[in-house]
């Protein structure tokens, strides 16, 4: 009986292979024929052609002289920028609302539950459109820009002052980055009590030093209205802001649910043991429960990070020039849809594979 089983399975496997192979062959030969009769260009040589269009925001220098390859690179960097910043803040939101969701104070708990419920049940695209409409409707024209703490609020973006020297900007961002990472570390991992206050103080002090003492040496350029637009300073476009807000709030709600169920999955015994040695709820959470819950929540959290990255492709609907958006424009201009759709899928696949490999490396399965 065992031999018969094996034979039938071999037959099944080979027929499946031939079937799938046959379908793929038929499809691709038809594709080839269509491309030939209609004389549609193929191949990746178009990447070296001049793009001809401008991109509204870019991390590297780009103008319409540059190639499609450069344009796609700009899009890729924009996607990464959104993904990194978005994941970071989404995690914070998730942490805050996740912990709120298990709070003993019923008001907080129901607030978190209602919030998560509402955010999760409305499509992300709708939330993005809503935020975008809000940003462009509420904020005034550049000519009537409102100023708030030195930041100019307009419907073309938020313009804030920045250090004239890029070197100082980098140092500033670096210190701020360390500060934020420090907060993360502080919340999650056990740190002996005396280390924390000194860590924070050190960061605050260095920030204070830089901004106050060296204010004379490092000039700051303020944004001002010149001609049609505001020049000087850095800006955050309404596209970036609405995509950022929409993505972080949406993904944050999902992360909150995951973190909450991770915390609830910890054995009650841990809570009881912690209380019996005199820890209060806050210390319990910080030192015992949350670190353990991350073993459970990490895989679904990573998949939420991936979701955020994939969802950033919705940028095409609100005009943020991410990879998909620029590929879409290129598709319309060159007509080479196959190559570009292939590039889009390859890019997201590689990001997804990298995260799978990382998880496996950390010893966990990426499916929860």
């Amino acid at each position: 009986m065992k031999a018969k089983y094996k034979l039938s399975s071999i037959i099944f496997s080979t027929t499946t292979l031939f079937l799938v192979g046959g379908i793929i062959y038929v499809l691709f030969s038809q594709l080839q024929e269509n491309l030939n009769t209609q004389n549609i260009a193929t191949g990746f040589s178009f990447l070296g052609y001049e793009a001809g269009f401008e991109i509204s925001e870019s991390l590297v220098d780009y103008d319409s002289f540059d190639t499609y390859e450069k344009a796609l690179l700009v899009g890729f960097l924009n996607t990464i920028k959104m993904a990194v910043v978005g994941c970071f803040f989404a995690f914070f939101i998730g942490l805050i609302f996740g912990v709120m969701g298990i709070s003993k104070k019923h008001a907080l708990k129901s607030f978190a539950e209602n919030y998560i419920n509402i955010i999760r049940n409305i499509p992300l695209l709708l939330q993005l459109f809503f935020w975008y409409a809000l940003f462009t409707d509420i904020f005034p024209n550049v000519k009537e820009a409102k100023s708030f703490l030195g930041v100019l609020l307009t419907n073309r973006g938020f313009y804030f002052p920045i250090f004239t020297s890029t070197f100082v900007t980098f140092i500033f961002i670096f210190i701020t980055g360390i500060f934020l990472v420090g907060i993360l570390y502080f919340c999650l991992i056990r740190i002996k009590k005396y280390k924390i206050p000194s860590f924070i103080c050190l960061n605050l002090f260095s920030l204070w030093i830089i901004t106050l003492v060296f204010n004379q040496l490092f000039t700051v350029t303020h944004p001002t209205l010149q001609g049609f637009n505001i020049s000087g300073g850095e800006s955050l476009s309404p596209e970036f802001c609405s995509l950022f807000l929409g993505l972080t709030i949406y993904t944050g709600a999902f992360m909150a649910e995951i973190i909450r169920s991770g915390i609830l999955a910890i054995d009650k015994g841990q809570w009881e043991a912690g209380r019996s040695i005199g820890l209060n709820d806050y210390q319990l959470l910080r030192f015992i429960i949350i670190p353990q819950s991350f073993k459970v929540s990490l895989p679904p959290l990573i998949s939420q990070f991936l979701n955020l990255t994939k969802n950033s492709s919705l940028a095409v609907a609100i005009g943020y020039p991410d990879f998909v958006s620029i590929a879409n424009t290129s598709m319309n201009q060159t007509g080479q849809a196959i190559e570009l759709v292939g590039l889009i899928m390859a890019m997201y696949l590689s990001l997804s594979l990298i995260s799978s490999v990382t998880l496996n490396f950390l010893g966990r399965s990426s499916r929860a």
């Binding site: 907080l108 609907a317 889009i344």
Partner: protein, 341 residues
Amino acid sequence: MLKDYRKKYFNDLESSVASLLIFCIYFFIIGYFFNWLIIEGVWVGDASVCKSSTGACVSFLKEKLVFILFGVYPREFLIRPILGIIILILGWLHFTKKKNWNNLLFFKFLALMFIYILLLRGFNDSFVPTSKWGGLPLTLLLSIVGIALSYPVGIFLALARTSNQLIPRYLSIIYIELIRGVPLISILFMSSVLIPLFLPDGVTINKLFRAQIAIILFSAAYFAEVIRGGLNSIPKGQWEGAKSIGLNYFQIIRLIVLPQALVKVIPPTVNTIIGMFKDTSLVIIIALFDLMGTTKASMTDSKWLGFSVEAYFLCALIYFIICSKMGKFSKKVEQELQRGH
């Protein structure tokens, strides 16, 4: 009852402070909303009245309601999509009662969808082409048909992935990882722009079909993963016991493993279904006018410009009602399953 509230919200000092804070926030939000909608809301009047007031322009919603819900469906046949939605609601009420769960469920469901499509389509004189279908009926059609047809495909993929035959396993792994690793937008682009290039001369597939195919391909991969989780959770003892009474692979799957596995993973399945329902809103990007598409289109009427918030609010409300109903159903099932253990 008042005592319960006091215990819940004002148990101790910390709790009371938090509750007061939250209640303040609620009060402000609800108060602002109430003010916007009811007190300053323009319920009667045209665009100029609306523009001069700072409240919600409800007359805009009243004017555009039919358009947002039904798109450009011919007005004289409007009774048909309305009937279709009513049938779907009745179907939902019927299918979510546990006592109705039997083998005929799937066939009843297929019959329901068949009737629904026929209603939308009409015959001869009253034929309405798919290019005119839009709004809520289109969203429901895309998501329900998409989910219904992708579920069997998902089962098939999950079985392939957990089988010990090399070829089916690797083929399905490639498919699932490929589809899950890319955003739905790219699959929609692929279907709307690439599928025509794969077809022989003269054969075309309707735009709606192409979007439907994309949604089915996409959902199948996600369902496959959920079902795989269920399959993996069936103890090996079940397999061994079934083999020992002489059942072959297909019988084991059909009679023993699948019924248990599918029921076990109903909560994540319903979560995936809710996710897919929301994702159908992406078809606006390939210019299909589902509920989101008609909402956006309603805002471009030059006579009624600038009321995007009202339109989005209505659209969000509809999605929220449908999704939360499904979510509640999922919680109910989860509780029943837990009780069963």
